[in-house]
Structure formats: C-alpha cells, structure tokens
Amino acid sequence: MPTILAFAEARAGQLRKVALEAVTAARQLAGGDQVHAVLVGEGGIGAHAAALGQHGADVVHVCEHAGFARHNPEALAALLAAAANTTGARVVVLPASAHGKDVAPRVAAKLKVGLAADLTSVAFEGDAIVGRHPVNTGKVLATVTLTAKPAVVTMRPGAVPPAAQPKAGTVQALAPVGDPSASRVVTTTLVQGNTAKLDLGEAPVIVTGGRGLKAAEHFAIVEALAEAFGNAAVGATRAVTDDGWRPHSDQIGQTGRLVSPDLYIAVGVSGAIQHLAGMRNSKTIVAINKDKEAPIFKIADYGIAGDAFEVVPKLTEAVKAARAQS
C-alpha cells in the first residue's frame, strides 16, 4: 500500500501552519492508505505529534536532536530521503515555504527524481502524480506530471487549508542520519519578527502599501486597516522595500513573495507588471489610488480613485463597524 510522507515544518519549537497543510494534502492523496509525517526539532518537538495525528497522520516519525534547533538543511534532507526510502513513500509532500523550498530539491536530488514545486493542487492520475503550478509570474498555469517513485512535491502555502481528520498519529522515534551537529551548512541566527503577526503566505487578507504612502511612518494607516480586518498581513512594493520603509521580506511581486489571499488591498500602488506578478491570483483585489489611470485598476475588482490618506481611515472605520455587526 503506498504511503504518503509529509514534512511537518516547525520553527523555533513551534509547528507551522504549513505543517498541517502538508499533512492535509498528504491525507487527501493517500485516500485509505497510510500517511506518515516527519517532525524534526530539538528536544520536546514531539509534543506536536498529536496535532499531526489530528490532521490525518497515521504515523508521526519524530526526530529530536540538538542539531535541529535551527534549520539544518543538510541533515534534514538526509533524514527525509532516508524516511522516504524506509517507509516506501509513493509521494513526499513538503510545503513550498522558505525552508521547504530549501530542502525539497535536495531530497529530490538524493532520490534522483524530478520535483513539482509550488503546487496549488495535487492528485493521482492513474499511476502518476499531477499538480498545478503557476509559471511565468503567474501568467501561465502548468499542469505537471511526475512519473518517478517517489514523487517529490511542494505545496504552495494556503493552497490546501488544514483540515481535521483524526488518525492514530502513532509516534515513532526517528534516528538522524549521521550527526546533525556536524552539518557544513549552519544556521547561526534566527531573528523572528513579530510572531503574533500573520505571515503574508498565511493571511486571508493582505493590505499592501506602495510609494503612494510617501513615508515609512504613513504605513500606520495600512497597519490600522489590516488590524481592523483581524486576519490581515501587511505587504509592500519594491519601491517601498528599496527605500527601506519595509523589510525585503514584505515585498510582493516577481522578485518577492507570491501570494493569493482571498482579499488583496493595494494602497498607493501603481500596479507595475512586476508587482502584479506576485498578487494577480488573489481572489478579490481592491485598489485605492489617486490616479484614475493607474494600471492597478485594470486588475482590481473594486477601485476607489482617491487619496489614500482620506479613504483608508474611512475604510478602516467601516470595516470595524461591519465586523462588529457580524
């Protein structure tokens, strides 16, 4: 019976949402077959095994080692490739997160197979694995077929939302391959931003500020709008990250993050092609720009051609009021 193996990503001792998404995707692929999850971290990480069982893992392989306190791509790839072999995995599912995208190609290369990356959906088609993958900055959708066994895939964050489907989640200790503390690639520092904040890849709503905000401190108005939604993250254009108003990690676009939230609100964003590349697949797009001719209006479902400093605070109040009622 084919087993599906899922990498349950954790950072700084905490399970990430994409871990549950990977296990959920694996569960959907497995049908009645077994889902095995791999959970890796320093001592104590095994406490998260239950959550993986809740989302459909029959077995959770837990590897606790001081060498896994921070991201350790070499030891992790070795561990996942070995686990793929020992469990006879038909598919290895990883999140297309920063760490997932770092590790997945190493795992694929160790297994000498191709990889289907950043999939928005995945399924068996006969004996092959088939997934959808936005290419050419999201302007083209590719359907990718993987014939190798195992197949290695990474799932775009948010594509398969976590779904509870309780399974045994039987914990099995997994020994590292070699000494994780002896890896050549060493993550010396991890600097977390505000962990209470939603990540761009996870937030159902994104409010992005562009150069139209004119100064870093004016991001307060987009922060307040995001706050009013309660489930929003704040993004930025390259004009803004270039000027150092926001960190590079907030940049959305061709050379930044690729996002597809339910709602994307662009404030003072012109809508350059490279920016659209990162957000064109959002479900609903709202633009607020004082220039009626700004290209962002071509892609926006709803636009307000007005001054952000006037419109955004009003919108914030209206969103608060709407949410208070519902």
Binding site: R106, L115, V140, T143, V191
Partner: protein, 251 residues
C-alpha cells in the same frame, strides 16, 4: 575567486502569453528573451566579489539551444570572463534533468563558488541550484539576500523567511542561490559589449539526466472580470464595504 554562474534564458514577462499549438508550452513567436532576473543578480554578485578581491575568473553557463549564446554574450558584456553553452535541443522542465547536466560540467571545474538564481522566472521551480549542490556533494545555501565571502574560506549569508530571517554559514567551495537584495545587475557598457565579442564561448553537448517531471498542459488562467472604479473619494467606502460583504463575501 573562481566562480561559475548558471544563467537561464527566459521570455520577458511583460507580455501577454499565448499557448503553443502543442498545448504544453508557451508560443515563443514574437517574445523577447533575456537572462532570468535572479541570474542577473547572481552574475552581478559574482562580479562584485571578484572586483572587491581584485582578481579571479567568472564562467557563465547556460543549458539550451544555440539561442542561449545571445544570453551568454550578455553575461560576458557585463564583465564575466568566459562562457559555456551546454547544448540541448530544448530546455527540459524537469529541474533534476538540468541539474545532472550542469553538475557534470561543473564537477571538474574546481570552482570556489557556484552561483544560481533563486529561481528561474519562467519555471519558478527554485530547485536546480540545491540539486546541483547535492550532485556535487557541495554545501549549499539557497535564496540568500545578503552574501559575504570576503575571507575566502566561508560563506556568510542571510536568508529571508516568512516573517523572519536567518543567518547561515558554510565553508567554500559552495553553491549559493541568489535572491533579490544581493546586487542589482549592471547594464553592459559599450566597451563591455565590444570586449564580449572576443571572449571565449565554448559549446558542449548537455548530458541531461532522466526526465520524470513533464508539463502535461499549459493554459492561461481565467481572465479576471473587468473591475470597476466605485468612486473618487471616501464617499465610495460604504459601497466598497457592501460589495466586500455581498459580492466578494470576504467581510
């Protein structure tokens, strides 16, 4: 330093793509091509490393049909020293097949540093660099937004994570894949363009690896319905909120 930079030729994204009759590729008629964005950053990073250290040699490598020579010449006109085309009739979609061919070429090169783009802007696979590193048995740091190899022995890099960043080190020789932020590519100067014509460009057959990932279909995503401008000032806010509640159902 002896540096190699892997460069992919990709279509300019500022266009309306059409799907080729095969249904598994984009129609290339009328498209403009250039080096993939992140590969330009990688080429620039290599130039800056060697300019700072005062010496070294940078080789540009591209796998594909003869048209990639144009892209390699551009790299040479930026200031890279020599180029290798790994000749293949077409560039496979499968990153592993590409990685085997690149690894076979890079293996004997005794490079101190091998640079890739974080991802090719067309395939968006973000996989070839780390795969090559695995095949060569080299350490790899992927998607770096800051890079320091000034001591000649170690890579010190920064990687952007979701809402966080990490600092990572590894010994040289190493593979590094370049994210935005490291260096903006320079424009080739007239002198550079002239000099590039005389720089060596070697052509070798590509020893592609097995292809197990293929494109079954390419299609254009559904067109977005035409949007509307609801109004010209804050008076439009109630209508916007109403539509977000009733039409878009996101509030």
């Amino acid at each position: 330093m002896k540096i190699a930079v892997a460069i992919k030729r990709v279509p300019d994204m500022d266009t309306r793509f059409k799907i080729a009759p095969s249904g598994t590729a984009v129609d290339e008629t009328g498209l403009k091509f250039d080096m993939s964005d992140f590969d330009g950053y990688a080429a620039e990073a290599a130039l800056q490393i060697n300019e700072k250290q005062g010496g070294g040699e940078i080789t540009a490598i591209s796998l594909g049909p003869d048209v990639v020579q144009e892209t390699l010449r551009k790299a040479l006109s930026m200031g890279l020293d020599k180029a290798v085309q790994l000749k293949a009739d077409a560039v496979p979609f499968d990153g592993y097949a590409i990685a085997e061919a690149l690894a076979a070429e890079l293996k004997g090169g005794s490079y101190d540093l091998i640079l890739f783009g974080r991802m090719a802007i067309d395939s968006s696979n973000q996989s070839v660099g780390p795969m090559v590193a695995e095949l060569l048995g080299l350490p790899c740091i992927s998607a770096v937004s800051q890079l320091d190899v000034s001591d000649g022995k170690t890579v010190k890099a920064r990687r952007e994570l979701e809402g966080a960043y990490e600092e990572v080190t590894c010994p040289l020789p190493a593979v590094v894949t370049i994210d935005e932020g490291v260096a903006r590519p320079r424009y080739p100067s007239l002198k550079g363009i002239m000099a590039a014509k005389k720089k060596p460009l070697e052509v070798k057959p590509a020893q592609l690896g097995p292809v197990t990932a293929t494109v079954a279909k390419m299609e254009l995503p559904p067109e977005r319905a035409a949007g509307r401008i609801l109004g010209e000032n804050a008076d439009a806010v109630p209508e916007l909120v109403r539509l977000l509640q009733t039409e878009a159902k996101v509030l």
